[in-house]
């Protein structure tokens, strides 16, 4: 406790007082750290340092950003309302797939509906919200843990439906016996099934490089060129900037407004004790459905902004593992706290998800640099152990990083649950109100004044 207290007091005041500053500084630190790691690795591997450093910098910030927005959306469900939604991946899939189907070319394989991309994105978000609304219906009757099972089931049903050949639209010839284009009131489309589907948007900021604003893009590219960054990385950086500087603040502001309001107060009350909320005249079902739809819509949008820009997705992208990652991010940051959600998203992406991989890459590059050869790669744990060669042990660790990452993740979670179950920023007093409640009206401060009329004059009619 005292160590934590001292660590806290060592931080500049701005960090502990202003959440925006805290988040900005954290993201910047992560970015710089990865910039250095990427640069060092490139230096050791004798590659173009600036380009590699910048690439690592922007990719970690992108991952931090998308995990942060997903954690924010989940915070509405789990952190505020206590709705144990473990179907996050499903709602992301609905968003991405709806968007892809709506915007896909009618002549494509699978055929789409050929709508403009912005309409398709909106459609994707709405579809995710509506599916969320449907998924929430059982939540009205079920307790938290049963509801969790419903949501994970829902998300798997979505994934398996998308995977099914029946709706895939891969055989477009109506005379064929395998004809599998979905025909809904004359609208023909398909999901692509196991082959996946191409997503129509690449970079939403494409217009900077190939459109009316091309001069701006040209300047960026030439600046990049001057310091040794290739155009693709410049383009990717603009998209990362879009996510981190525009989308993330927008999500944060939105969720913050929801939380710091009478609406958010009812959500918190539902989390704490639903019967109490009902006994105070709150129609909790309505609140649960509303917040579930909002959160699901935001998850759908997050899916679109993330996987929707890859050019291609398949249903297996949306395995429950994605949900687990988002939950981990939220729990690490502190569920119930919006700032915690963002911090959790960034910390999870940077330290838990990418950290081990980067470290292994760095070690590998270092070994190659110093010894001129690569590290030994023992076939299995037993071989590594019995070789009694520290280098072989290191080599084993490095080659097994993709698997050991999960061991590390598990260990961190166990530690966190035991020592700081509320997460890094959980249990902070983020009071659910649009105004500062501690501001006491002067009139009530007078001693001797009978606390009186309050009871009788309730209600907000007296403006």
């Amino acid at each position: 406790m005292s160590i934590r207290g001292r660590a806290r007091s060592a931080l500049p005041d701005a960090l502990t007082e202003d959440d925006t500053v805290l988040i900005a500084v954290l993201l910047l630190c992560i970015g710089v750290l990865y910039f250095l790691i990427g640069g060092l690795q490139a230096f050791l591997a004798d590659a173009t340092i600036v380009n590699a450093a910048f690439q690592t910098f922007q990719s970690i910030l992108f991952l931090s950003g998308v995990y942060a927005i997903l954690a924010l959306a989940l915070n509405l469900h789990w952190g505020y309302t206590g709705l144990f939604n473990i179907g996050v991946a499903g709602f992301m899939a609905v968003g991405v797939y709806t968007m892809s189907i709506l915007a896909g070319s009618p002549d494509g394989l699978p055929p789409g509906l050929g709508l403009p991309v912005p309409v398709a994105v909106l459609g994707g978000v709405l579809a995710a919200a509506i599916v969320g609304g449907i998924a929430a219906l059982p939540a009205l009757q079920l307790d938290a843990d049963y509801f969790a099972i419903v949501t994970v089931g829902f998300s798997e049903i979505i994934r398996l439906t998308l995977l099914a050949d029946t709706f895939s639209g891969t055989v477009t010839d109506p005379s064929s016996s395998q004809y599998n284009v979905v025909n809904l009131f004359g609208l023909e489309f398909g999901t692509g099934g196991g082959r996946g589907i191409s997503t129509p948007i690449g970079n939403p900021l494409e217009f900077l490089f190939d459109g009316p604003l091309q001069p701006v893009g040209d300047v960026l590219v030439s600046v990049g060129d001057a310091i040794g960054i290739i155009p693709q990385v410049v383009e990717a950086t603009t998209y990362t900037a879009f996510i981190v500087l525009l989308v993330l603040p927008a999500y944060y502001l939105l969720v913050q407004r929801v939380g710091y309001s009478p609406f958010g107060r009812v959500l918190k009350a539902i989390r704490e004790d639903e019967l109490v909320a009902q006994s105070l005249g709150k129609d909790t079902r309505l609140f649960k459905i509303k917040v579930f739809m909002l959160g699901s819509g935001l998850m759908g949008l997050a899916g679109i902004l993330w996987y929707g820009t890859f050019g291609y997705v398949n249903p297996n992208t949306f395995r429950p593992l994605v949900t687990f990652y988002v939950f981990t991010a939220l729990i690490v940051g502190g569920s119930g706290s919006n700032t915690g959600s963002v911090v959790g998203g960034a910390v999870f992406a940077a330290l838990l998800l990418q950290g081990p991989r980067r470290l292994a890459g760095l070690i590998n590059a270092g070994a190659q640099y110093s010894t001129g050869g690569s590290l030994p790669e023992p076939a299995n744990f037993w071989v590594a152990l019995t070789s009694l060669d520290p280098l072989a042990w290191l080599g084993y660790l490095v080659t097994q990083t993709p698997n050991l990452k999960f061991v590390f993740l598990g260990a961190v979670l166990v530690y966190l649950m035991q020592n700081r179950s509320e997460g890094l920023l959980g249990h902070r007093k983020e009071t659910a109100s649009s105004v500062d409640l501690s501001e006491r009206p002067a009139s009530t401060n007078e001693p001797g004044k009978p606390g009186g009329q309050a009871a009788a004059t309730g209600g907000e009619s007296d403006e």
Partner: protein, 300 residues
């Protein structure tokens, strides 16, 4: 009058000379001063709550077996009975937590049987819980801010849309004043920013009652408000309850501390094994042999 309730299913005694649907709007709680209060003992008033033939079973167990009673407006009515008498079940049926198997419940002349808890609360019939159910990870202030009905900011669009949010803020500023006054009234203003979960048992009871009052109810159902409360605090709570009755609030109190009910309630309902055993004033109850036999023992 003392033994009229014993058949349980029979018509309740006081019903005859009082119309079902007394217009409560005519009675302004703020002006219900003590002179009205005194005359009230003789003049029959409205019946905010009527319970008729209420029956509730759980599996093979009949928890409440055809109970009928009424609560007069502005009264402090006590509902007593030994453990397992069906008091809490009756309470839960009235407030919509359980759906009764049969029987009707009328509030202000309107049937509320089987309605959901929030609908009943919105009508002005608000309850507290036997074991104080405070919202632990919300501050005392948040707990009270939650209660007022029909807040504009409870609509999602109002909460997030820039222009509409200003109105939400103004509303909340107004509510905040009421909340602070309420905190003063219950003398828990020094705990305002504390998490409700950190409060002592007695303080939680105060908080819960303050929270129920913030909904601006007409009638309060208090489920064992004095359980686990120390004598000083009990005194304080009682003082508040009497003050509020004087202001026109109606109370139905579930309690198994007989003395407390005897000393404080004008009207007492005694339940035993799911039945209504007796009904009347403290004097009536004290002289009722069945009650003495079933519940009180020899020392009352």
């Amino acid at each position: 009058m003392s033994e009229q309730g014993e058949t349980g299913g029979g018509a309740a005694p006081v019903e005859s000379n009082v119309p079902d649907d007394v217009d409560l709007d005519d009675v302004d709680p703020e002006t219900a001063d003590s002179s009205i209060e005194e005359s009230a003992k003789t003049v029959p008033r409205g019946l905010p709550l009527r319970v008729q033939n209420l029956r509730k079973t759980f599996g093979g167990i009949t928890a409440v077996d055809g109970v009928s009673f009424e609560v007069e407006e502005g009264s402090l009515t006590g509902l007593i009975g030994p453990n397992g008498a069906g008091k809490s079940t009756t309470f839960n049926c009235i407030t919509g937590v359980h759906e009764p198997d049969s029987g009707t419940i009328l509030f202000k002349g309107e049937e509320i049987t089987g309605q959901r808890p929030h609908e009943i609360a919105q009508k002005g019939l608000v309850r507290t819980f036997q074991i104080a159910r405070e919202l632990e990870e919300m501050t005392v202030l948040e707990n009270l801010m939650l209660a007022p009905q029909d807040q504009e900011g409870e609509k999602l669009t109002n909460a997030i849309t820039p222009g509409l949010r200003d109105q939400v803020k103004r509303d909340e500023e107004a509510i905040r004043e009421d909340v602070w006054e309420m905190l003063e009234f219950f003398e828990i203003d020094h705990l305002a920013e504390e998490y409700a979960g950190n409060l002592s048992g007695g303080q939680r009871k105060l908080l819960e009652m303050a929270r129920a009052l913030m909904t601006d109810p007409e009638m309060l159902l208090l489920d064992e408000p004095f359980a686990g409360v120390n004598p000083t605090l009990e005194e304080k709570l009682l003082e508040r309850i009497h003050e509020l009755t004087d202001r026109g609030y109606t109370f139905l109190l579930v309690e198994h501390d007989m003395d407390l009910i005897m000393q404080n309630c004008e009207h007492i309902i005694v339940m035993h094994q799911g039945d209504l055993l007796a009904e009347g004033t403290a004097e009536d109850i004290r002289n009722n042999e069945q009650v003495v036999e079933a519940y009180l023992g020899e020392d009352v």
